[in-house]
Symmetry: C2
Subunit: 466 residues, 2 copies
């Protein structure tokens, strides 16, 4: 999951605002079928099987690596094996980034290795590495306030510690040191930056994640250390100045073309109208991408498959999009939006699963009051799964932001993310962390939700904002 | 902690069996003082402070490395700073082992990196590494039963998964694949062995630990993969044969002399009689050795210090021994036993803290029935801490096994080890894993226990067995 500043998106929505057309209501028969799908999905192992296949047969699949190409081939093959009506891929082009090796150590006062990982898009240090004194800041804001003299020639360390939250609200405040720390430190003459990992665990496994350099600012190497290493660093700093060595051989490389891989279940009445569901196919390279975002891939593929096999075709086409290169800047999402911007009216609604594999506890939507009846029907369908009706402020999922920007309605099936940031972007993101029961609860919700929104007459409005 | 086969030890005990002399009883005044010590220790931060100092200022301290030398210097300095009456060190000589680099990957059918660590004492593969097909066994016993043809030219993988237990009883069954797997596999012509880590966690951090080669058997490289990697391997093996690459540049090197570092609080009435407490000073190199065995070092140093400062000197000398190179074969323990074998009658009793930093829930002893009164007094002292009277079958702690072999009585303050093997011998063995409240409960027990056994008249018997 990524949190980008979305005011640009909202501005676009405002400009494109188009009157809402009321959705219809599901028939009794459709409601009964959605409930049947839900109850069958609750016992289905299909999502777990797909996830086991992806993590075993592909594993790490960072954009631009051989794992990316293997993931695309896997996804094409899996959609075909599952007998989707249409299977195709659309190009996603970007500059590949290569991790290289990454090591760091405290050199003084007490030599100890520390566990670090390069942040995505970081420049390297050269093979000889760099060394420097730590300039410590509690927060990104403290770094912003610092004088050049406090930072120049040093290695910046931001120690801000992310707190746990069910809905991930604590991520935004924490992640700014990852996304903007290097530019802020570079501007003030720092040699490099090493942040405390943006994560809520206590494991000796650093969290990677994307960063970007602001234009016109010196580009300095950027890394994250694990939480226990950050604790150690704090204990060292209590004793006085600390000198650190850092070697990253990361680099940006060639232009690379990956793909959004798409599988469709064709609608029975309005086949040209689509409901977009999916997750992102790429992962970071440290783990096998089970929770970020293998789970989203598996859940949405499985939900569409269960719907296709259950004997009642929904009226609209279900388009499962496995997004390419989400992690390094929503490249797949932007490519899709650019390629399909003239077909937005046919995009009835959409939702993405990209917040791990915890149970769903709430759902949000974008809709006007006139759509309230079908939202209430969804609430009725999802209630037996312990899912409550949320609010009309769906934040979709990052890969749908460009489509929301073009006016598409979205839903959010909100997962419990309390433990998500223990694993997020680390080597620990592996299949054993996924609770099969939770995956079944998710699948039940996705199957019922997807059938309902692709079956109901009318639409969910277009160009809505909140 | 190490579990060695102890029947040789017991045989020695039988040969040297000497009649038991009854211990006396603690006076009311002594009981009151022990209780006061206990209650003060319950609020003391001293053990945590010492542990923070060791993990921050030394950190990893594998025997034979620069960290070992730094740990010895730290310990000498810490005893002196704490104003122990006598501070000295005794040599411990062994062959140093060097880890080098360690990488592994699944080459086919689905290329993925796997996280491995060399087992202590393993030979290397050469820098070019080796590759081979996996020969999978569920248990060490299955490997024992295998024909040469199933193993020859392959890389053995033992997938046995250690279960959790409060008292560590599950370790013995699991650890045999680490200690003896390489010899068994080498005997049958294997190229190498990679076991599932001997650990109860789900972290992408492999567990190291010592292994040894039987004489006359080809010495093959030996490593452990993390538990999630072992799960991945199992999923791959379901699909057919698996080829793996392994590179370890580990090697055994030069003869190295480290030290047992000893601090004493001199007894008031029988200064030549000693009560031995302590933990081992060395750690594995992957973590900072907070729970194995920084906690034992900190607790026993702190307990003796609190006793020394509390105004009532115990009758006997408290000898805190911080054992050198426990991990690679009890080298410090054996050196001490050899050097002090003629002074065993002056070693009244002993105990070691080497099972992490979980709360103490029970205590055991070696004693005859005649010592029951003082054991009951200990039970009275420890009960308010939630510690129950156990049984007269103290297993001491590994560094006391040679002294038990020479007839010394021992006690065991038994810690809850349910989570100990999540961290044991991994990079995750760091200070943040230690609960300061649990450390205080331990310290309270150690202070009361140590004061009591070094104050009571009589002794705890000698040459006891069970």
């Amino acid at each position: 999951m990524k949190k980008l500043i979305t005011h640009i998106v909202f501005a676009v929505i405002m400009l494109n605002a188009i009157p809402v057309l009321a959705a219809g209501k599901l028939t009794e028969k459709e409601m009964a079928h959605a409930a049947k799908l839900r109850d069958a999905a609750k016992k289905s192992d299909l999502a777990y099987e797909i996830l086991e296949s992806l993590t075993t047969e592909v594993g790490p699949r960072m954009a631009g690596t051989p794992g990316d190409a293997r993931a695309v081939a896997w996804a094409m093959d899996k959609f075909k094996t599952l007998k989707f009506d249409k299977v195709y891929k659309e190009p996603v082009t970007f500059t590949a980034w290569h991790r290289g090796t990454e090591t760091a150590e405290i050199l003084a006062p007490f030599p100890q290795p520390i566990m670090v990982t390069a942040l995505g898009n970081s420049v390297g240090t050269g093979e000889e590495g760099i060394r420097g004194e730590i300039a410590h800041f509690n927060t990104f804001e403290d770094l912003q306030k610092a004088e050049r003299g406090e930072v120049e020639g040093k290695i910046v360390f931001i120690s801000y510690k992310m707190e746990k939250s069910r809905d991930g609200r604590t991520y935004g405040k924490a992640v700014i040191s990852r996304s903007r720390g290097a530019s802020e430190a570079g501007k003030k003459g720092a040699k490099a930056i090493i942040i405390r990992s943006i994560g809520t665990d206590h494991d000796r496994l650093p969290h990677t994640g994307n960063m970007n350099y602001l234009e016109g600012v010196p580009q300095i190497p950027a890394a994250a250390m694990s939480n226990p290493d950050a604790d150690l660093m704090m204990n060292m700093l209590k004793r006085g100045s600390v000198e650190v060595g850092l070697t990253l051989t990361s680099r940006s490389g060639e232009t690379y073309t990956s793909y959004n891989v798409i599988g469709e279940i064709t609608g029975s009445k309005y086949p040209e109208e689509v409901v977009v569901i999916g997750g992102h196919l790429d992962s970071w390279d440290l783990g096998t991408g089970a929770v970020d975002d293998g789970a989203g891939v598996a859940l949405t593929m499985a939900a569409a498959k269960l719907i296709a096999d259950a004997g009642v075709r929904p009226k609209r086409t279900i388009r499962v999009i496995l997004w390419g290169n989400e992690e390094q800047g929503l490249h797949g999402a932007k490519a899709y939006a650019a390629a399909h911007k003239d077909e937005m009216k046919q995009h009835i609604t959409g939702a993405e699963s990209d917040f791990g594999a915890g149970p769903i506890w709430s759902f949000d939507w974008t809709s006007s009051d006139e759509n309230e009846p079908v939202v209430d029907q969804l609430a009725t369908l999802l209630k037996p799964l312990g899912i409550k009706k949320g609010n009309p402020k769906s934040t979709s999922g990052p890969d749908l932001w460009p489509l929301r920007g073009l006016g598409m309605s979205t839903f959010s099936l909100r997962q419990d993310g309390t433990d998500y940031f223990d694993l997020h972007h680390t080597a620990n993101d592996t299949l054993d962390k996924v609770n099969p029961k939770h995956l079944q609860q998710n699948l039940a919700a996705w199957a019922a939700f997807t059938f309902a929104v692709s079956s109901v007459e009318g639409n969910f409005g277009f160009g809505l904002t909140y």
